[in-house]
C-alpha cells in the first residue's frame, strides 16, 4: 500500500541528495533507518553490565 505524506522543503532536498540511481524515496528512507539500526550493537543488559562494572566512588576519608 502506498501512503501519501507531506515533506518540508529541507526534508525533500535531503532525500534528493541521498537518492542514488534506481532508488525511490521509500528505498532511501528504509536504507537510512536500517543502516542506523545496524550501528546499534549493544542492548539494555550490556549497558547495565557496563555501568555496574564501573569502579565505585572512593569514600571520603574522615579527617582526624
Amino acid at each position: 500500500m502506498v501512503k501519501v505524506i507531506g515533506l518540508s522543503e529541507d526534508a525533500c532536498a535531503t532525500l534528493k541528495r541521498r537518492t542514488r540511481a534506481g532508488m525511490s524515496f521509500s528505498d532511501v528512507i528504509i536504507h537510512e533507518i536500517k543502516s542506523k539500526q545496524s550501528a546499534k550493537t549493544r542492548n539494555k543488559a550490556d549497558l547495565l553490565d557496563w555501568v555496574k562494572s564501573l569502579p565505585k566512588p572512593k569514600s571520603k576519608k574522615l579527617s582526624n
Partner: protein, 139 residues
C-alpha cells in the same frame, strides 16, 4: 513511578547523569527505572551535548567519551536531532512559564507537548511544569 502517555519516553540529562554516575544520589533509582521501562528512550542531541560536557568536567574526557559510545550504540536509546527551527517556540514557552530551567530542559518540555510523551527526569521544577501541562501523572 511515572507512566508514559505515548510510545516513547523523552530522557532528560539528569536521568542520564544518575544512570552513568554511580556517585549520584539517584543512581540506583535510575538503574531500576532503566531496567524496567519498556518504551524506547528518546535522547535529543542537545541532551547528549549537556551530558558529555558535564561528565567531562566531573569525571574526565575518557569517561565522557565512553558514555557517548555506550549511548550511541545502545538500542534502548533513540537519538533525536535538535531542530534549530523550534528555538523560537521554546523561547516562547520559556517566556510564558518563567520557570528556572535550562534551555535544554525547556526544549524537552516543548518536545513532550508536541509528541504527547512524558519526560524521564528527577528535576522537580520540570516535573511540576509537565504536570501542569498534563504530560505526566504520578501513581
Amino acid at each position: 513511578m511515572i507512566y508514559c502517555t505515548g510510545k516513547s519516553m523523552i530522557v532528560a540529562a539528569l536521568f542520564l547523569f544518575a544512570l552513568y554516575d554511580n556517585s549520584d544520589s539517584n543512581h540506583l533509582r535510575a538503574l531500576d527505572e532503566f531496567e524496567t521501562i519498556s518504551e524506547p528512550l528518546t535522547v535529543t542531541h542537545r541532551v547528549l551535548e549537556e551530558l558529555i560536557t558535564v561528565l567531562t568536567y566531573k569525571q574526565g574526557v575518557d569517561f565522557a567519551l565512553s558514555v557517548l559510545e555506550q549511548t550511541k550504540s545502545n538500542d534502548a536509546f533513540d537519538l533525536f536531532p535538535t531542530e534549530m527551527s523550534v528555538q523560537k517556540e521554546v523561547l516562547e514557552l520559556m517566556k510564558k512559564t518563567r520557570k528556572n530551567l535550562s534551555f535544554t530542559d525547556y526544549s524537552l518540555v516543548y518536545l513532550s507537548i508536541q509528541r504527547g510523551e512524558t519526560v524521564l527526569t528527577y528535576d522537580k521544577q520540570m516535573l511540576g511544569l509537565l504536570k501542569k501541562k498534563k504530560i505526566v501523572k504520578k501513581a
